[in-house]
């Protein structure tokens, strides 16, 4: 447990020291704030005290921001050779992957915490369904965790950050939208399978306030799969 925490602490500090954390926070809050409150189908259009519009904005902003956070994590260590130093300490490959995963997830949770004023504001306007809000936030966290684990895998297969970023976006796109598109163009079992594979299906149902074990299992298994693949590709030391 301890090495994971030490790695997490170092990664978090490096996010804040290198300004990446602040840039992410400002951009995320600016984007989601602008589209939630000021532009398009914003919160006032729906005529309801609900955060649905914020959740659907965050669904997209996080999708693009997370690969930018994760691309560096393993690729940079690979490129500079510091991975060798790290792994010859009493630290396992899994500790490294989990430490970096926790750091990125913590940063995402921090940025989501900064949107809590939205909740307070909306709940003062009308009767806010607190269960739906909780489920929506949980959905965002789980979705972020999925993309972080995919991003970590993408970062583990290369020593080039740009390649890691592109790979993460590419893999992510399938789960984020392509499976959904495929699901709508197939009927029957194939359609259902694609629909089940799509992150949006599960996220939508959580954002509506439905907490289903099926969704939880889906998210958790994707997270575990991504992390496992990252660990395995790290173990190959082939870069």
């Amino acid at each position: 447990m301890k090495p994971i925490w030490i790695i997490t602490k170092r990664e978090l500090r490096s996010y804040f020291d290198s300004l990446i954390a602040y840039i992410l926070l400002v951009l995320f809050l600016a984007f989601s704030g602008f589209f939630t409150w000021l532009f398009g189908s914003d919160i006032f259009m729906s005529g309801q005290a609900s955060l649905r519009s914020f959740f659907s904005i965050a669904y997209w902003t996080l999708f693009f921001f997370i690969p930018a956070l994760t691309m560096r994590l393993l690729a940079e260590e690979n490129r500079s050779g510091t991975l060798e130093l790290l792994l010859t300490k009493p630290v396992s490959d899994r500790d490294v992957v989990l430490g970096k995963f926790t750091a990125a997830l913590t940063l995402i949770i921090i940025s989501l915490l900064f949107t809590l004023p939205y909740v307070i504001t909306v709940s003062s306007i009308g009767n806010l369904d607190s269960g739906a809000v909780f489920c929506g936030y949980l959905g965002l966290v789980l979705m972020s965790a999925v993309y972080i684990s995919i991003g970590l895998y993408a970062s583990s297969i290369t020593s080039n950050q740009i390649v890691a970023f592109m790979t993460a976006i590419f893999i992510g796109l399938f789960f984020h939208i392509l499976f959904d598109v495929l699901a709508s163009s197939f009927t029957g079992l194939t359609g259902e399978i694609f629909s089940f594979l799509s992150v949006s299906t599960h996220f939508e149902s959580m954002a509506r306030g439905v907490l289903d074990t099926k969704d939880l299992i889906y998210f958790l298994s994707l997270i575990v799969l991504g992390l496992k693949m990252a660990e395995d590709s790290l173990a190959k030391r082939n870069i």
Partner: protein, 309 residues
Amino acid sequence: MDITVENVLKTYGLQRAVDSISFHVKTGEILGFLGPNGAGKTTTMKIITNYMIPDKGVVKIGGKSMPEYANELKRHIGYLPENNPLYDDMPMLDYLEFVAGLQEIPKEKIDERIREMVRVCGLNAEKHKKIGELSKGYKQRVGLAQALIHDPEILILDEPTTGLDPNQIVEIRKLIRELGQHKTVILSTHILPEVEATCDRILIINKGKIVADGTSENLRKQAQGQDMIKAGIKDGDPNEIFKALQELPGSSVVDFIDRNRNRFEIQSKPDHDLAREIFNLCVARKWVITELTPVETKLEDVFRELTMN
């Protein structure tokens, strides 16, 4: 703790980087790892530190084999990799604290160990800088400090003195010597005087195979075979001297080095005291000896002979 490497084989594609090598390093021994670039030194070190898993063979440290007891054994190893990779964006002291944490040094001792490392590695003048702002020599010292911070029983140093100035090189060699009294040290280098100055034993490796193993004296003797003597002799006809030297019972091959100044190179037969014979010969003929030096084979020659071809 001792280190045993048994039949370790590692291939990169078709190329055998390390080809079934075996050796043993005793506790408290300083082993110098020599070899031309690409001979397999670094790969062997990566295998000993468990960064890489060999295709075949076992590494045992203190009797325990590597992948199984990796987490326990890694605590006892201090490793300075080739090119000394460091986190450039971290302040040096934070970095040492990070490494101390990973090495599971108890919290109350971390400050003391960091202070000790700053002193031993001479980092005091630059200790508040970020690693990226340091000169190459200071980075190298930070690399050494992170390898030594948990006072490991085994030290693996891949080219520890690159980038240091001559004074620092002397200091680091002294430090390695001191550490080597209690620790097992493997250091790789291609600076030959460095091995002679610091190491108890030398292992020369070429194309993934061990080609020589022994103390520097042993290796010299092996390569040399018979003694060689350089002699300068005055007051005689060169050809006459040449002939007389050839007829000595102890000489096998005589060669001119410099015909005008009557300098010769004479190879002795085994179990003959050639120098005495030359001296007696010159006394008898009333020639004057201007030079009589035993030729030592340098480690460079041994190295070249074993690794060229």
